[in-house]
Amino acid sequence: MTTALVPPVNITPRNPEVLDRRARALAAGAAEAAGTDAAELLAVVLFKLHGLHCAVDMSAVARAVSRLDRVVSVPIAGGGERFVAFVEERPFPVVDLAEVGGRARAPEHLAQAPALILSFENGSVAVAVDGPLELAEESLVQLAQAGETSADPNSPRIRGRLPSGATHFDADWMLSWAAAAIT
């Protein structure tokens, strides 16, 4: 039984005016108003990678963990090792998004890192990122430039940029990258 408790994710509304407007519209029963705003807004999880602000659609994230706490390396038959962390009594394989454009971190460093739990058909994976994590609703202000996308599956696919300047990752790419990283 785990006694160490994982601290909760810090939820910070990035655009309180928009949220307030939506809440009032919904309270007034204006479904179309909510729909109009919803079309413009993206619910995203904000994080950092190599010091840069990044984001991914919240719909792709099954759970956000503010700190992995304990990461163990598990040896694999035939050589090599994989990282695993327990989140609420369940073990998840861990992959480090810092590998994209950089080097993967050691388990002791990963233990301090926040992570996004992504689920796909064959299981789930904890994607370690840099914190702090924030949840926000923002709109996409700038679509990705041609040079920002690549056919290389290891290169991140980017959907565009948020008003804050954060790079908005393509959730499907992140999912397929994480799935490939653990298989």
């Binding site: 304990r70 038959a77 994989r82 327990f86 009594e89 298989t183």
Partner: protein
């Protein structure tokens, strides 16, 4: 409207569970219909079959629904038939139910969202399709729930093509395409007694209250909503007592929930003895079955798969193995055949052993059949009997031309082999001509409780299933019990010299200067070895959790668990660990910095390779003529070919002439003793890998250490030496002897 994959998966799980129950009912009713076609039984049969057909159609299993329709039709035809026709139709009905059971069991075991194509094909051959009668078409047409029918279409329905069989379930099959289910498991449904859930709930409530109370204690006193006066701050003793109570409740809760998930094997085998007796009677035979290990607990899905596999194997044994009463009398056997079934959990697998006292497998026929199939009789002839049986087990099938009511065309063995293989398990056959046969299969457990010995190594907490740990050893200061020789590190355990590995190294880590203080001696079917570890902990019960591709039954780490303080426990698979150790055994060189003492030599070698030989050649070096002759006779009686040498020098020369499979040598011999002989052989590349076993009357640690340092693989005491000990030792050092 499409159905999301999780919903689809849940519904398929429900279908599988329902199908298993329905097929059990149908099998019972079919047995009644064999004896007498009572209208109420016929009606019950039709209703059950029809219900299952509807469920299959609703999930988009169009071809399966058609087959179930045909089963229903065939049952109705039982009433119209004379005795001979009735017998033939009933036999087909029973076989169809058997095949359906195999298919559903396969779905349950594999978690696949499709009825197996090969079984479907067999069913279609068995049940020529007849269009629905007006009665069933109008009055009992399947009415799938719209929510289910609109979203469900299975892979099996997609592959139905233009076959007329697809027509019955067409409305459901056409409704919508199923979401991709490739590789996705079917959600499992378990049925547990409500009172056990209630008990777990009560424990959880008590635990929650206890935690709340404890928090109040920690806050400095008890203040309740009933305005009781605030009590004085609790003493340390009170807090300790409360904490102990909480820990006790938590353990009880964990145990209670484990028991809900892990069912006793008994639950899957009720009425099995009677079923076997009835089956035997239908074949004009007598047989009884004894089941051991019914207290073994396993997850429901694995138990169900095991039950289906056992049923197939028992039917095969009754049909093909157990002789008729006349045959048994002629063979001086009791009239009633005897089947013994043993269930046990071995690490993370359920192991099932089925023994019968029948005539054994018909090896000549099996060879002929395999030769026919392969078109290469010469190759089949080179295979040993065990290899032939293993090949037959994996290819499956039968040597019988005729179809039997009980075991059909012999597809049972094939199905069992496929189920074991698909689930990641194994199957082994053995035969004792004229006296019986043994089939052993394993299935990995989805969920299992394990007793593990915990230990630490390089700062990580590890565990091994307790049954694989033969002993723990305290290593003296500086590991002077560990020797370093040409075969790698070894340690003497009783009269044997066994490989020693530093666990950290085996697991891919770098060994530090600090020496391990303990060793764990592990024994599996594949061998024995000692592993150096830092500390040995205690034996604890855990329910290991899997991480696909990382920690899973069959992997080097078979599961993960968390201990009380949250530390992650990695549970190692002993067999994989031994294999990894053999693969990773470092080449030894003169290394002044090596922490392990002993005579260094540059003749590094890997462990002796595993091999199979019908007549293993032993070079026996022994100066005493009497002892030499005794040992020669003893070895030859057991099927070894023996070459002799009267001392170490002669042995060296004779080994150079022709390399034996193994050298067994006395230690004290004139001209050249066994230690010198060993060192010489290790120094030569062509004999560096030769398995060497030293024999001596000495039983002391120094002699063992000297043998290990010289590079011997094992060290046996003459007074305890016999062919069995030699065979066991050869197996242990990687030389497989099969005669």
């Amino acid at each position: 409207m499409t159905m999301d994959s999780a919903t689809r998966s849940r519904l398929v799980g429900l279908f599988v569970a329902e199908a298993e129950e329905t097929l059990t009912t149908l099998t019972g009713l079919a047995e009644k219909l064999r004896v007498q076609v009572a209208p109420e039984d016929l009606s019950d049969f039709g209703r059950s079959a029809h219900g299952l057909k509807g469920a299959a159609a609703a999930l988009g299993y169009g071809a399966l629904a058609t087959v179930l329709h045909d089963v229903e039709e065939l049952s109705l035809q039982l009433a119209e038939a004379g005795p001979d026709v009735h017998r033939e139709r009933h036999a087909r009905l029973a076989q169809a139910l058997e095949l359906l059971g195999q298919g559903i069991a396969h779905m349950a075991a594999s978690g696949r969202d499709a009825f197996p194509d090969n079984l479907l094909q067999l069913l279609q051959e068995l049940l020529p399709h007849r269009p629905a009668t007006p009665r069933s078409a109008v009055g009992l047409a399947p009415q799938p729930p719209s929510a289910v029918g609109t979203g469900a279409a299975a892979p099996e329905a997609r592959s139905g093509g233009t076959s007329p069989r697809a027509e019955v379930a067409a409305p459901a099959a056409q409704a919508a395409a199923a979401p991709a289910m490739q590789g996705e498991g079917v959600l499992e449904r378990i049925s547990v007694p409500a009172e056990e859930v209630d008990a777990a709930l009560r424990l959880a409530s008590a635990l929650a209250r206890g935690v709340a109370l404890f928090q109040e204690h920690l806050a400095g006193g008890t203040a309740t909503a009933l305005e009781k006066p605030r009590a004085a701050a609790p003493s340390t003793a009170t807090l300790t007592s409360t904490a102990q109570a909480l820990a006790g409740m938590a353990e009880q809760l964990e145990s209670s929930i484990s028991s809900l998930r892990l069912l006793p094997a008994e639950s899957a085998f009720s009425g099995f003895e009677q079923e076997v007796e009835q089956l035997a009677a239908r074949l004009g035979k007598q047989a009884s079955v004894v089941l051991y290990g019914l207290e073994v607990r396993a997850d429901r899905r694995t138990l169900q798969a095991a039950r289906t596999m056992i049923r197939h194997l028992v039917r095969n044994a009754l049909d093909h193995g157990i002789e008729s009463p006349e045959g048994r009398t002629a063979a001086n056997k009791p009239i009633a055949g005897r089947l013994v079934i043993r269930l046990e959990t071995a690490e993370s697998s359920l192991k099932v052993t089925i023994d019968d006292d029948g005539r054994g497998f018909d090896l000549p026929s099996i060879r002929m059949e395999l030769s026919r199939r392969s078109g290469d009789p010469a190759r089949i002839n080179t295979l040993s009997d065990p290899e032939v049986l293993q090949l037959f087990a994996f290819q499956g099938g039968s040597t019988r031309e005729s179809v039997s009511e009980i075991s059909g065309r012999g597809v049972g063995l094939s199905a069992v082999a496929a189920m074991a293989r698909d689930a990641g398990g194994s199957i082994q056959l053995a035969t004792r001509p004229g006296t019986g046969s043994t089939v052993i299969f394993t299935l990995p457990l989805e969920v299992y409780a394990a007793e593990v010995l915990t230990f630490s190594c390089d700062g990580r907490l590890l565990g091994l299933p307790i049954q694989t740990v033969e002993r723990t050893m305290y290593l003296r200061a500086g590991q002077d019990g560990v020797q370093r020789g040409p075969t790698g590190y070894t340690v003497a355990v009783d009269e044997s010299i066994i490989p020693f590995h530093r666990l950290t190294e085996t697991l891919g880590g770098k060994v530090g200067e600090a020496l391990e203080r303990f060793a764990l001696v592990l024994r599996t079917a594949d061998g024995i070895a000692a592993f150096g570890v830092d500390h040995v902990g205690e034996v604890i019960g855990v329910v290991p959790l899997s991480v696909p591709g990382v920690a899973f039954p069959g992997g080097l780490v078979s599961g993960l668990a968390q201990v009380a303080d949250g530390t992650v426990l990695e549970i190692l698979n002993a067999r994989q660990l031994l294999a990894a150790a053999r693969a990773a055994r470092p080449a030894l060189a003169e290394d002044a910095e090596s922490p392990v003492r002993g005579a260094a030599t540059s003749a590094a070698r890997a462990p002796a390779p595993a091999r199979v030989d019908k007549a293993l050649e032993v070079m026996l070096a022994e100066d005493s003529l009497a002892t030499r002759e005794v040992l020669r006779v003893l070895l030859e009686e057991q099927g070894f070919r023996v070459r002799l040498a009267a001392d170490g020098e002669e042995a060296l020369a004779r080994v150079a002439e022709q390399l034996p499979d193994v050298l067994v040598s006395d230690v004290n011999m004139p001209r050249r003793d066994g230690l010198s002989l060993t060192r010489q052989l290790r120094a030569r590349p062509e004999t560096a890998r030769l398995p060497i076993i030293l024999l001596t009357s000495q039983d002391d640690a120094a002699a063992q250490a000297a043998g290990a340092a010289a590079g011997a693989d094992a060290y046996l005491i003459k007074s305890r030496f016999n062919a069995g000990v030699l065979q066991e030792t050869l197996n242990r050092i990687g030389v497989r002897v099969q005669r």
